[in-house]
């Protein structure tokens, strides 16, 4: 058993690999911490431009955080975003894990066409989508409702989720399904009881990606939602840009606040799915 554990243990590896590994890890830390550190540091400065770069602030200024929390109803924005992003991720991920399964595993006419159509959606510019989608929302009487945004988020970005999930299905050995079929499971049952649980890490990855996209999405949100009580998190940022000045202290504070919920969620959930991945659920 001990030997298995050391399979990816760093100490058992050749020196070259160890050096490369450490370089990569340091690089990863630098790349992610430099902008992040700069952002947090700047958000603590009263005037980020007067003491630029990585200089420490003279005095720690929490004005941006305080005003964001006190005046701007942060929790309301969080609630809206969590609701809209959460529901639409669930809808789209279930929908797509169904269709991706069919495309990954079954032969049917028009499969290539489905592939091409889904790929093409990635390249349609938002300007071409704006008017038809805006009109659809109006016709369904969903204008200025959160449902409109859920509808839009569920449908957009299907291509990325589709390929991530389909790719994961491709890695699952077919024997598993065949065994299930021999046990008398129908197609739907096989998918629900066998495939879906195994593919869960892949599906979770797609869900995380979709959630992050929806969390930061602003264009559609500002187009279909106009009541301020319904707006989502990115709208916080625009508040700090007025006609004649930009409040960088407030802007940077709001940016830090905005990424907190996804960071927390990720830290909690990454345990579940990265560990699930390394559990070797997909063994043949």
């Amino acid at each position: 058993m001990k030997k298995t554990k050391s399979g990816r243990g760093i100490n058992s590896m050749p020196a070259g690999t160890r050096i490369v590994t450490y370089i990569c890890l340091v690089w990863a830390l630098v790349v992610s911490l430099v902008p992040l550190g700069w952002l947090v540091l700047s958000s603590l400065k009263k005037d980020p431009m007067a003491r630029p770069g990585f200089q420490l602030p003279e005095t720690i200024c929490l004005d941006g955080y305080i005003s964001t929390f006190r005046d701007l109803h942060v929790l309301r924005y969080f609630g809206n975003s969590l609701f809209v992003a959460g529901v639409s991720v669930m809808i789209s991920v279930v929908m797509i894990s169904m269709s991706a399964y069919v495309v990954a595993r079954m032969e049917f006419k028009g499969k290539a066409l489905v592939n091409i159509l889904l790929y093409s959606t990635m390249f349609i510019p938002a300007t071409a989508l704006t008017y038809p989608v805006y009109n659809l929302v109006n016709r369904l009487h969903l204008y200025d409702t959160r449902s409109a945004l859920i509808l839009i988020y569920s449908c957009s970005g299907i291509a990325v989720s589709f390929f991530v999930i389909k790719n994961y299905y491709d890695n699952i050995p077919r024997e598993l399904e065949e065994a299930a079929r021999i046990d008398g499971c129908g197609y739907v049952q096989t998918w629900v009881k066998v495939i879906f649980p195994i593919a869960r890490p892949g599906i979770m990855t797609a869900a995380v990606l979709a959630f992050l996209n929806n969390w930061n999405e602003y264009y559609w949100a500002s187009l279909v939602l106009i009541t301020r009580e319904k707006l989502t998190v990115p709208a916080l940022l625009s508040t700090f840009t007025t006609a004649f000045n930009t409040n960088y202290n407030g802007l940077f504070s709001a940016m830090v606040i905005i990424i907190l919920p996804p960071v927390l969620l990720y830290c909690i959930f990454s345990r579940f799915f990265i560990e699930a991945l390394s559990g070797g659920a997909v063994k043949g």
Binding site: S67, N135, L136, I226, F244
Partner: protein, 425 residues
């Protein structure tokens, strides 16, 4: 069987798509007049936004008992909302359109109400001020902006004094260039002016200094204009100034560097509108002064403004027109001056008298700036409105590239000419 199912599926989907594509947009109810505006900022961030919202709410309250309810709605990207609606063949009940003005596409579809007859009947010519002439399109007026985008320059008299610059610096662009040279020669961490977005106003005013150039500014951009000596001279003057000023002080968006001038006092000059009065930091309010562009020129544009949809019910249209009258009335216009700190469109208002009664330093400064602009010998429109924002941006981009030391201005200008000719094709 499968084929059948697939075709049923496709038919259903196509039906749904059809729903998206055709037919007009659902409108607000007949007894509500929706009004979209862009003053969404929180009071703690921008007090003027709250003043505007209060003005709108005041009107809504006064007409609460009428047959139509007035409903102001703050939106963050009204331009996108308006263009999405216009693309679908409709127009918001009423909207305070932003910098781009009323979209051409809305006018060509006849979606916007002509306000001129109402203005003429009610004698509102002075109340709407510059709108009356500048927004006149073949005898129609489609928008009335309650405030005028008046632009001049702001300078830091402290820096000017240290550099030994006199008021003559603003006589013409040559003396201006000499003044900037003196600032750069100062042994301090200061520089001439904030270039980039602001530099397009140099082009704007250099062109306005000759009659021929001014005529070109006031009409659509043509190939003749692009190839004219006036335009070449204007661009090269600006590019030369920018290059001497240095690309590190160049930005495509004034907002990025404005604090350098207003708060940190590091720049000698800022090209910005009169509204900059309220952005000046208290520590600098004694030294920052407004002035006209060299050659006694000001840029004033009605810009966008309040636009009303065509073909609404009589009651709704009536209320919308009533609102325009309200917004240009003396009472509201005074609030726009003192509270919003902008140049009101109504020409009958005595700004200096208002400023004297106020003990707010920013208001006094604003009055000074407004009276400078309103009293300029030569007032000209912003090319952004006559030549279009894409042209304006191409010019700004070219100027910014010229700001890099060693750039060949002649070559870049030739390239710009080709670009502009293609843009208007």
């Amino acid at each position: 069987m499968k084929k059948k199912m697939v075709s049923v599926l496709l038919a259903a989907a196509m039906g749904a798509t059809g729903l998206v594509g055709f037919g007009s947009t659902a409108y607000a109810a007949d007894d509500v007049l929706e009004f979209y505006h862009g003053y969404y900022q929180d009071e703690s961030e921008w007090a003027a936004a709250q003043v505007m919202r209060d003005i709108y709410d005041g009107f809504a309250e006064a007409h609460a008992d009428g047959p139509v309810t007035f409903k102001p709605i703050a939106v963050e990207n009204r331009d996108d909302i308006v263009s999405a609606q216009v693309a679908g063949g409709s127009f918001p009940d009423m909207v305070d359109v932003g910098g781009g003005g009323v979209p051409q596409a809305a006018l060509s579809q006849d979606l916007v109400y002509d306000l001129k007859p109402y203005i003429d009947e009610n004698g509102l010519q002075d109340a709407v001020g510059l709108n009356y002439t500048q927004h006149d399109i073949d005898g129609h007026i489609y928008a009335v902006h309650d405030q005028i985008e008046s632009r001049g320059l702001w300078y830091n008299s402290d820096i000017f004094e240290k550099a030994g610059i006199t008021e003559d610096a603003f006589a013409n662009w040559d003396s201006f260039a000499a003044a900037m040279e003196k600032i750069r020669a100062l042994d301090e961490d200061v520089y001439g002016y904030i270039a980039g977005q602001g530099s397009s106003y140099i082009v704007n005013t250099v062109m306005a200094s000759t009659d021929e150039g001014k005529a070109m500014l006031e009409s659509e951009l043509t190939e003749d204009t692009i190839n004219s000596d006036e335009f070449a001279n204007a661009f090269k003057t600006a590019a030369k100034l920018d290059q001497d000023n240095g690309s590190e002080h160049t930005t495509d968006d004034n907002g990025n560097l404005m604090a350098e001038f207003n708060t940190n006092g590091k720049a000698g000059v800022l090209f910005n509108g009169v509204w900059n009065a309220s952005g000046i930091d208290a520590s600098l309010s004694d030294v920052i002064e407004p002035a006209l562009f060299p050659g006694n020129i000001a840029i004033a544009s009605a810009g966008g403004g309040l636009a009303v949809a065509n073909n609404m019910s009589e009651e709704k249209t009536e209320l919308a027109l009533e609102f325009i009258k309200y917004m240009t009335s003396e009472e509201v216009q005074e609030k726009i001056f003192t509270g919003v700190q902008a140049n009101p469109c109504n020409t009958t208002i005595d700004l200096n008298a208002l400023a004297e009664n106020s003990d707010d330093a920013a208001t006094k400064k604003l009055a000074l700036a407004c009276s400078e602009v309103n009293g300029a010998e030569n007032v000209v429109i912003d090319i952004n409105y006559t030549w279009g924002s894409d042209v304006d941006k191409a010019i700004i981009n070219a100027l910014m590239e010229c700001a890099v030391s060693g750039t060949d201005i002649e070559a870049r200008f030739a390239a710009l000419q080709t670009e502009l000719i293609a843009l208007i094709a």
